[in-house]
């Protein structure tokens, strides 16, 4: 056993990896699987919870699609149970609740927690060579604070009047005055409290990630030897720490307006639904500013970690280094920095000072620059590599190409004059689904396939993975690409029945095609779930490093025991030394692998 490279020798005996001293101490079922403080278990808890929530959010989306394809018709299967009082059809107020909760579930219970919660938790200690997070108990709490949120969001449906119905943006006064909408009763209060719990959960994670990444890196793991996944998680954590307090404060202000009679967001003399006129001298636009001051950076919280993970996976699957590592880091930092000064582009036609529209337009269009740099670098990473066309790679390709479409369609809305027309039409719906689903979620699907062996010590099925990819990719594009056309045709969002406007009548067949595609895509997700849970128990076992990757996580056993590494890893290289001339006959060079000086000089001369 070489003393210089202690962990790599274990890799050859990977089958025995999991049975070493790691499992020496036995934990009770509760402390191992439920209230676990182990970052890997918490990551898996987050992952499974978010995958199940994804099915819930998807179900809500399919109900929305049903209404758009067959307006006012009896909904099959669930219609009679859920909407029995309305003859099995979706009533207009139920429709507003459906899309509100679809967005809420997908954003707050799926995308944000699956990136930071699941992969952040699982990967940060493993990739920086730490034995756990800096604050394991805080970490456990960050998972368990999700559950009150899930409970509150769920319970809101059973309040008098039904679930929250003011959109996930919850603009006042619709969301604030009880009389304004059926869902603006207690349901909206529960929604705001649920949001606070999600916020607290994210904040606990964010503090933990920053501390861990700054303090607990293994010897030799300098900042610029960190994998881009870690950089993206680090930047995301900073974004969350700065942006979240604003949303939390705004949420409490709205709760106070609703319950205590304050008037932060309520102007005077407003009569809603024949209720007495409001008192107060508040501003409804204040909510929009506070909300988007968080929620625009949140868009990058929903994207950056996926960008980082895809960079890791692309390098590994192309067997060559990431092209322009430092530009990648700097552009993520630029996205995060610029992300704080672009929130006004959600408010171009909201009635704020039109001069602000100009400054926000320039900053918004310029934020496309770091995104473009990243895209070029991804293409540079693939260029000249030995591409492995497995499921992971397919998802990464989909990530890059869908991100190109989603990024380019954003320019239309960033341009204020064009936004006058396409604001609040289906064009924006197309745009953010291309970014959040087409990019982020495809990246997450790839990441699940890629890190699953490290999570469970088994591989996921490639064939099922590829079928899932093809169906999802086709379903996704057939559902969301036509939304650009709907937007250009002037179809507004959040319409329960657009077809009674003569100029939108002809869009019904297109919408029916999109709904059919959406159902295909929805059904395909059962393949992912099936593959996930089947492979967890019956997948073929794998060694420590099934992909031939360089990161520290691949030096640990699969799955890593409590404490992660059998020997403290020492880092000698950056994470992307694939195909390096000094790596001998392998095409990868693990971060822990020491190459003696003589060998490096020889390789250089040979070069």
């Amino acid at each position: 056993m070489s003393t210089l490279n202690p962990t790599i020798d274990h890799a050859d005996h990977a089958d025995h990896g999991g049975h070493g001293h790691d499992h020496a101490h036995k934990q009770s079922f509760i402390s191992q699987y439920v209230f676990s403080t182990d970052h890997k278990m918490i990551g898996k808890q987050f992952l499974i919870t978010t995958l199940l929530m994804m099915m819930v959010g998807g179900g809500l989306a399919l109900a929305v699609r049903w209404q758009l394809a067959r307006p006012w018709e009896r909904m099959p299967i669930f219609g009679d149970t859920v909407f029995g009082a309305d003859g099995g059809q979706i009533s207009p107020d139920a429709y507003t609740m459906l899309f509100t909760m679809h967005a809420t579930v997908m954003i707050f219970l799926v995308i944000i927690p699956v990136l930071a919660g699941a992969f952040g938790n699982f990967l940060i200690p493993l990739q920086i060579g730490a034995d756990d997070m800096a604050f394991p108990t805080l970490n456990m709490l960050s998972y368990w604070f999700m559950w009150p949120a899930i409970f509150l969001f769920g319970a809101s449906f059973f309040m008098y009047g039904g679930g929250p119905a003011a959109g996930w943006t919850s603009y006042p006064l619709l969301s604030l005055l009880r009389e304004a909408a059926p869902g603006s009763g207690d349901a909206q209060t529960l929604w705001l409290l649920g949001l606070t719990f999600v916020g607290v959960s994210s904040m606990m994670g964010s503090v933990n990630y920053m501390t861990t990444i700054i303090n607990m890196r293994a010897p030799g793991m300098t900042l610029f030897r960190m994998p881009l996944t870690i950089w993206s998680m680090f930047i995301t954590a900073i974004l969350q720490a700065f942006a979240l307090p604003v949303l939390t404060a705004a949420g409490f202000m709205m709760v106070a307006d609703r319950l205590l009679g304050t008037c932060f967001f309520v102007p005077s003399g407003i009569v809603v639904n024949n209720a007495p006129p409001t008192v107060g001298g508040g501003q409804t636009l204040l909510w929009q500013h506070l909300f988007w001051f968080y929620s625009h950076p949140a868009v990058y919280i929903m994207l950056l970690p996926a960008m980082g993970m895809v960079s890791d996976m692309l390098a590994c699957m192309c067997r060559k280094p990431v092209f322009g590592y430092k530009p990648m880091v700097y552009s993520m930092a630029a996205i995060a920095g610029l992300g704080f000064i672009v929130w006004g582009h959600h408010m171009f036609i909201s009635g704020m000072n039109p001069a602000l529209g100009m400054t926000f337009m320039v900053s918004t269009i310029m934020i496309a620059l770091p995104s473009a740099i990243k895209t070029f670098n991804w293409i540079g990473t693939i260029w000249g590599g030995r591409v492995q066309f497995n499921t992971v790679m397919l998802y990464c390709i989909a990530f890059v190409s869908m991100f190109i479409i989603g990024g380019l369609s954003g320019i239309f809305m960033a341009a204020v004059p064009v936004d006058i027309y396409i604001h609040d039409t289906y064009f924006i719906v197309a745009h953010f689904h291309y970014v959040i689903f087409g990019a982020t979620l495809f990246g997450v699907f790839g990441a699940i396939q890629f890190w699953f062996p490290k999570m469970y010590g088994r591989m996921m099925n490639e064939t099922v993975g590829k079928i899932h990819f093809v169906l999802t990719f086709i379903g996704f594009n057939c559902t969301f690409y036509p939304m650009h056309m709907l937007g250009i045709a002037g179809m507004p969002r959040r319409y329960a029945d657009p077809y009674h406007f003569p100029y939108l009548e002809h869009l019904l067949p297109l919408n029916q095609f999109m709904t059919a595609s959406a159902f295909l895509m929805g059904m395909a997700q059962f393949l992912l779930l099936g593959n996930f849970f089947y492979s967890m128990y019956f997948g073929p076992k794998c060694g420590r490093n099934p992909w031939g990757a360089n990161g520290l996580e691949w030096t640990a056993p699969s799955p890593p025991g409590h404490g992660n590494f059998d020997v403290l890893p020492i880092v000698y290289h950056g994470p992307y030394e694939y195909g390096s001339p000094v790596s001998g006959d392998k095409d990868f060079l693990m971060q822990t692998e020491y190459v003696p000086l003589a060998q490096r000089v020889a390789a250089e001369e040979h070069h």
Binding site: D93, A181, Q283, T284, M361, G385, V387, I404, F412
Partner: protein
């Protein structure tokens, strides 16, 4: 199938025409970029698939000059797009507040006050020959879900809401503006051709958001005045007729 701009695809306002021009400009830039990057991606993948077993990968950590090129070129293009838009926006939202070149205040006729409420549009016009006052006047003319405006030249409406937030949206004219509780927002636009244009709400305002269906009727200035006289006569007619003697 017609999956493009509504109607015959043309905008029926001066601003709308400019918006469409900018849209097509961005569309061209974006399409070229999309084709270029996708072709590069596709070519890289095709080469990556064809690489031979004994062939070495291109061991490169990046290229400084490439990074500089693909930072400067896109930023120039993006900056051009951003700056090129500013003028149209200024014309739509800001120049109405500015003074004329000779220093006199700019005058855009305010034709009506449009008040959105759950779930309809209430419109108040001043009587012929009078300006619109912020408070209702005895001889004001009212209509519901039908906004009449004269064609030819800019007109302005004052946009308000009685209750929650709404948005005034006329797709054929490419005009949109949110109506914000507690605010009176001037919206100026022109209609180049007489005709009926559909008008709807574009900001979620409750369960009936989808049914704020209304019509914008653009008429020549003479027809507009005649309509106001007729509407006024109808409105103030109490049904009393002098009995025949």
């Amino acid at each position: 199938m017609h999956w493009w701009f509504p109607g015959d695809g043309n905008a029926y306002s001066t601003l709308g025409g400019k918006i469409d021009d900018l849209f097509y400009l961005i569309l061209v830039i974006v399409s070229v970029t999309f084709v270029g990057t996708s072709a590069a991606l596709g070519y890289a993948l095709w080469r990556g698939a064809a690489i031979k077993a004994d062939e070495k990968v291109w061991f490169s950590h990046g290229s400084h000059s490439l990074e500089v090129i693909w930072t400067i070129v896109p930023s120039a293009v993006l900056l051009f797009i951003a700056l090129y838009q500013l003028d149209v926006w200024a014309e739509y939202r800001m120049k109405g507040f500015a003074k004329e070149k000779d220093g006199s205040p700019k005058i855009i006729t305010v034709v009506a006050e449009v008040t959105a409420r759950q779930f309809e549009w209430r419109i108040r016009y001043p009587a012929n020959g009078k300006p619109l006052k912020p408070t209702p006047q005895p001889d004001d003319i009212y209509s519901v879900n039908e906004l009449h405006v004269p064609t030819g030249g800019l007109v302005s409406i004052t946009l308000r809401t009685d209750d929650v937030q709404h948005a005034f949206f006329v797709p054929m004219l490419r005009v949109k503006q949110d109506a914000v509780p507690g605010k009176m927002i001037p919206v100026w636009f022109d209609a180049t051709m007489p005709g009926n244009y559909e008008m709807l709400c574009a900001e979620l305002c409750g369960w009936g958001h989808y049914k704020m269906k209304a019509m914008l009727v653009a008429q020549s200035a003479d027809d507009f005045e005649a309509w106001k006289d007729k509407a006024s006569a109808e409105q103030f007619d109490d049904g009393y007729r002098k009995p025949a003697e």
